[in-house]
Symmetry: C2
Subunit: 140 residues, 2 copies
DNA sequence: GCCAGATTTGAGAATAAGTCTCATTATCTG
DNA sequence: CAGATAATGAGACTTATTCTCAAATCTGGC
């Protein structure tokens, strides 16, 4: 079962009716691997109102179907939570380039911490900041 | 040399003059271990203008003397970067409680990833989200 | 100590992201 | 199909952050 189907199913289980606008937002998110901002979704889905975009994102986030990723400055990005595509982000402080990466060791360390705390950990999010190759060479 | 002294020194090296308002912001940040929002600083320092608070935060962040931590929803938090007090955050999704933690294994895994990428990594930031003990028991 | 020139600062206007309201439309249940 | 309820869009509204600009403050050279 792919992410879109899973999302649809869990939304239904959570007691939501199926509306066309929410479905469009889910479909858009299903197509994107990495982070998209709320306003970008709003822009790309002309027929869908801003309020609906934010509402849908909120519902999906509550169900841990998407995750807010706290990259760069101004606005938050959202991306689907998908075990197969789990990853984190490298952000270039100079040009804003967003580059995904993943690491088994890192996941294990996080897993270990999660069990050590008295919190029930549901999600995590790692951001590395620095300078991308292009910007590095440009400075040098 | 403590953080405040270091910050003052590096600001000077970066070509900044020393103004009273910026000093107040630096002093406030020096006192706080964990994240403070820009507006909280603005509120606590009545004599300092909002613009100055944001400007100072921007300068300090650029010098990696503070780090923006992307906790909860609406506003960003800032905290000093201090090798001795380096830590990450657990956020309760129910009540917003922010709890710091640190882990040597986690740092090592991040260190390893940093070297594997072609980015020059200057900083990192890990957020675990979940439910704190109080909220867990309240639900149960 | 005082001046010139450059930086810092505060107040408030201006933006931009995100939230809320409410009348309308669409879904679901029976 | 009808009623009850959830979903939706438009746009007003709130809140965080940025910008503008004139006044205050610094610093180095006299």
């Amino acid at each position: 079962m792919n992410w879109a189907e899973q999302a649809t199913q869990r939304l239904e289980q959570a007691g939501h009716r199926s509306g066309g606008s929410r479905r469009k937002v889910v479909e858009l998110l299903a197509k994107e691997r990495c982070a998209v901002t709320a306003l970008e979704i709003d822009r790309r889905l002309e027929s869908v109102g801003r309020a609906t975009v934010y509402r849908t994102l909120e519902q999906l986030e509550k169900l841990h179907l998407i995750q807010r990723v706290q990259i760069g400055g101004d606005s938050a990005g959202y991306e689907r939570v998908d075990a197969e595509a789990h990853h984190h982000h490298l952000v270039c402080e100079a040009c804003g380039l967003l580059s995904p990466f993943s690491s088994k060791d890192l996941e294990e360390a996080i897993e270990a911490v999660s069990h050590q705390t008295d919190f029930t950990v549901a999600a995590h999010d790692v951001v590395l900041r620095g300078t991308c190759p292009s910007c590095s060479s440009r400075d040098a």
